[in-house]
């Protein structure tokens, strides 16, 4: 047995006999930690949660919680016998009970088990559902149903809380507020949580660790900062869609050379022999705009993202490079204009493949 609070060891997650994610291993060290699993739709994230909840069985590996085996090839604890709560993505409220009764059914499970670190009333207020307590599930919106489902799961005070795209139906304008409140509730109630989402910002904000699931594998399981800045594979880079890979040659332990950008200095996260031909990850924030620079490229696209613009520049060798510029920047560049890049180019973490 390990010292981790929760652990998945070499599990093949299957549904209907078909493997969705193979040979997965990850752990949650401490009780009360929140982790996020990130991946495109249909990749098997929900299957992972359903299996942890006991709704699907496993034939390989094991799932352990607090020192006890929940699932293995030989053992499968029934869902009702694991104190695990799963808030489904789709509406799973009991249709013939009011919102209040639905939440109270969750509270019933917790009777006499643990002290309520966060009271029922607090959860109702934080999730802003007090006005719909007397309504039936068919009378509320999808976003409201999702918050009620979340409230019901939270009040059960489970040993492990599983949230499947908990905010996917919540209005964009309301999402950040709910994210903040959810983080607050999870922190104060000390509920160990696994959140599944396809929204990387949501995952980076809520989770202390993030797992990236791609092509039937858990590609990376690390701190959000590392996942973002130090992706461990080209697939993760492509999934996060945060930069571009350009050809370069390693010229010293702290530099490399690209035909269009010239010399780039920085710290390699993984050493490469001098002379190696590599693919360098250039993220939008790695390059800086400078109108006075003589290194100029043509603007082929400009995206306004509120706080910033992302310019897409075309190099002489037809590589497209994204560059961030604050939206209050003194002047803007139109498509087909020339755009200067500050020299010398220095990237803190050099990520190469």
């Amino acid at each position: 047995m390990s010292n981790n609070f929760f652990e998945v060891k070499n599990v093949d997650f299957k549904v209907g006999g078909k493997t969705k994610v193979a040979n997965v291993s990850f752990a949650i060290e401490n009780e009360g930690d929140v982790i996020c699993l990130l991946g495109p739709s249909g990749i098997g994230k929900t299957t992972i949660l359903r299996t942890i909840a006991g709704l699907e069985k496993i034939k390989k590996g094991s799932i352990e919680l607090n020192g006890s085996i929940l699932s293995s090839e030989k053992k499968n604890l029934e869902p009702e016998d694991r104190n695990i709560s799963l808030a489904f993505q789709e509406n799973s409220l009991f249709p013939h009970y009011t919102v209040e009764k639905n939440i109270l059914l969750g509270a019933e499970r917790n009777k006499g088990k643990k002290d309520h670190q966060v009271s029922l009333q607090e959860i109702i207020e934080l999730l802003d559902i007090s006005l719909i307590l007397n309504k039936y599930p068919h009378e509320i919106s999808a976003g409201e149903a999702q918050r009620v489902s979340l409230a019901r799961s939270l009040v059960t005070q489970p040993d492990l809380l599983l949230l499947d795209e908990p905010l996917s139906n919540v209005d964009q304008s309301f999402k950040e507020e709910i994210q903040e409140k959810l983080k607050k509730i999870l922190k104060s109630s000390k509920i160990t949580t696994i959140i599944v989402t396809h929204d990387s910002y949501e995952a980076f904000y809520l989770g202390s660790k993030c797992g990236i699931i791609l092509n039937q594998e858990l590609k990376q399981f690390d701190d959000p900062y590392n996942v973002y800045h130090l992706p461990n594979s080209i697939e993760v880079v492509n999934f996060l869609n945060r930069g571009t890979l350009i050809p370069a040659e390693v010229t010293s332990p702290k530099s490399l050379e690209n035909k269009d950008l010239g010399t780039i200095t920085g710290n390699f996260i993984k050493p490469f022999p001098i002379g190696s031909k590599v693919k360098l990850l250039v993220q939008p924030e790695d390059l800086h705009h400078d109108d006075k620079s003589n290194l100029k490229f043509e603007v082929v696209d400009r995206k306004f993202r509120g706080t910033n613009f992302i310019y897409t520049l075309k190099t002489p060798s037809n590589t497209l490079i994204p560059v961030f510029v604050h939206s209050h920047h003194i002047h803007q560049h139109e498509v087909d204009e020339k755009f200067g890049i500050k020299r010398p180019i220095h990237i803190d973490h050099i990520v190469c493949f």
């Binding site: 359903r50 909840a53 006991g54 709704l55 029934e78 869902p79 009702e80 104190n83 695990i84 709560s85 799963l86 489904f88 789709e90 509406n91 799973s92 409220l93 009991f94 249709p95 013939h96 059914l105 969750g106 019933e108 499970r109 489902s149 019901r152 059960t156």
Partner: protein, 541 residues
């Protein structure tokens, strides 16, 4: 197959196997010897049986299509005097089984019948019998069955019209179509799956019809089955004809199922739920629409009701001869017992299917619900055949005492065969209720610590309450009207309104058949009125 083996799975499997027994019994008859009757019948009447069945089926389908679709179109799209009343009044014809309609038709048009009395009272003595048309034989059977069953087409066509997309109708207007052209180019084709589903139900019921065709002495496959059993005591041959009939009915059943799936697709479109604005009719058009709907309502319901009422008043002695309380109690006893048994086992079977998620079990369930498509006569005879075989086997090989009497001519046997016959009604009713409960609701319950039994009792049963009530009403309605199974399997001296009416009519005592028929119509009407809101899908059921 047995990966998800548990008590729910096992119960569900056993129920499905039990309900499938008559189908298997009928088809095994292919390999049994028959008496000489088979050869005689093959050389003489078999062709007549088949041709009569087809003529009857063909005419009833055309007639029910015309009046069912026509009336549904009028009440769905137009506003005219009493159109809201006709909306539900047109389903009251369900309260009049074909055999009671046949008695009414004969009573009214026969020599010196009610029509004669009316003419005599209006115009004095005269020889009116020659001028009064006679609706008997094949024509009488077609009318009786059509007026009793057209409501299947009416209900499904109306539901389809009701939920038809407003956009579709607007499109017709936009293309400059006339109302008639919109009807046959857009509305009718869009409702086709629903209408085909309704017609398939009519077809199955027509082929299964026993009371009316027997009364008019039309030899069809169904009466042939009954006669080969009653007259020649040849169960094997009865089963052999049954298997021919069943093959035909199963093809209809498949068509109906396929159509229903498509029909469901039409109902589910979001646009379709938009309430359409009805077109208000004026003048002659309004009068014609009213006349059409009133005529159907009158002919299908008021006419048989008033004929039976008239005879009950004219011959009050029949009212006192009959032990009404007894008949009522017997009928209610059967209704209550059968409904509870059906609900109980259908719930278990549905839940078993839900929790086991087993494809084999699902297929078996689909096969077992086909009991509704099997004529009552065939079911009753197949049941007797099976019990006889089973009894012989346990007496011969195991040395047990005969158990025949426990099942044949007993309430138990009767309820068991009702169970097989109406299992699909209960099973499908509960299934459609269950389809509204997302599977994640069950899973949420498990994750809240509910066991499977607790989920069933605390989550499913309260949610299905309305569906269960509706199923009880529907099953009750069927059992009140049911004739052949009750006739063949009822215990000695145990009568219902249906059997009393049939026995009196078969003894040429139509006046005596009026009282039980009247009571049957009244009770059935009451059930229909209570459940009309569900039947007409007024609340998106």
């Amino acid at each position: 197959m047995f990966r998800n083996f548990n008590v729910w799975f096992l119960s569900s499997l056993l129920i499905s196997i039990f309900v499938s027994i008559p189908i298997l019994t009928v088809f095994t008859s292919f390999f049994e010897d028959t008496s000489n009757y088979y050869q005689i019948l093959k050389d003489t009447f078999l062709f007549e049986y088949i041709s009569n069945s087809f003529v009857l089926l063909f005419c009833v389908l055309i007639f029910t299509f015309l009046i069912g679709t026509g009336s549904a179109y009028l009440v769905s799209f137009f506003e005219f005097p009493l159109s809201n009343f006709f909306k539900w009044a047109l389903i009251l014809s369900f309260a009049v089984p074909p055999y009671i309609y046949a008695y009414s038709l004969t009573a009214f048009f026969e020599n010196y019948g009610t029509a004669f009395t009316i003419l005599k009272n209006l115009f004095g003595d005269g020889n009116y019998n020659n001028n009064i048309p006679k609706f008997d034989g094949m024509f009488g059977a077609i009318l009786s069955i059509s007026f009793s069953l057209y409501a299947y087409v009416y209900i499904l066509a109306r539901a389809s019209f009701l939920y038809q997309s407003q956009n579709l109708i607007d499109l017709g207007k936009n293309l400059g179509f006339s109302k008639f052209k919109s009807f046959y180019k857009i509305i009718l084709p869009a409702a086709r799956p629903a209408i085909v589903a309704g017609l398939s139900l009519v077809a199955m019921e027509t082929l299964a019809e026993f009371g009316a065709v027997d009364f008019f002495s039309i030899n069809t496959l169904t009466t042939g089955i009954y006669n080969s059993w009653i007259t020649f005591d040849d169960l094997a041959f009865a089963n052999r004809i049954s298997s021919f009939l069943l093959l035909f009915i199963f093809s209809l059943f498949i068509i109906e199922n396929l159509s229903r799936k498509k029909a469901k697709y039409h109902f589910n479109t979001r646009d379709g739920l938009k309430q359409k604005e009805k077109i208000k009719l004026y003048g002659s058009r309004s009068f014609l629409a009213f006349t059409f709907c009133f005529s159907i309502f009158f002919l299908s319901f008021l006419f048989p009701l008033s004929q039976m009422l008239y005879w009950t008043i004219k011959f009050p002695e029949n009212l006192f001869d009959l032990q009404i309380t007894n008949l009522l109690l017997n009928t209610l006893y059967l209704v209550l017992l059968s409904s509870l048994v059906l609900i109980f086992f259908s719930l278990i079977s549905n839940y078993g299917n839900r929790v086991s998620k087993n494809k084999t079990l699902n297929t078996l369930s689909t096969l077992s619900i086909s009991g509704y498509a099997i004529p009552g006569v065939i079911l009753a005879i197949a049941f007797i055949t099976f019990i006889a075989w089973f009894d012989d086997s346990i007496v011969k090989y195991l040395g047990f005492t005969s158990i025949k009497k426990i099942f044949i001519g007993s309430i138990l046997g009767l309820v068991l065969v009702y169970f097989i016959r109406f299992y699909s009604l209960a099973f499908n009713g509960i299934k459609s209720g269950y389809e509204k409960i997302n599977i994640s609701v069950d899973e949420s319950a498990y994750l809240l610590g509910y066991s499977k039994r607790k989920t069933f009792m605390n989550i499913h049963i309260p949610f299905l309450r309305n569906s269960l009530l509706f199923i009880i009403i529907l099953v009750s309605l069927e059992i009140i009207r049911e004739l052949p199974i009750t006739l063949i399997l009822r215990p000695f001296n145990f009568e219902t309104f249906a059997t009393t009416a049939y026995i009196s009519a078969s003894e040429d005592l139509l006046e005596a058949a009026a009282v039980p028929s009247l009571f049957l119509i009244l009770i059935a009407s009451l059930f229909i009125i209570i459940s009309s809101k569900y039947i007409l899908r007024e609340n998106n059921e």
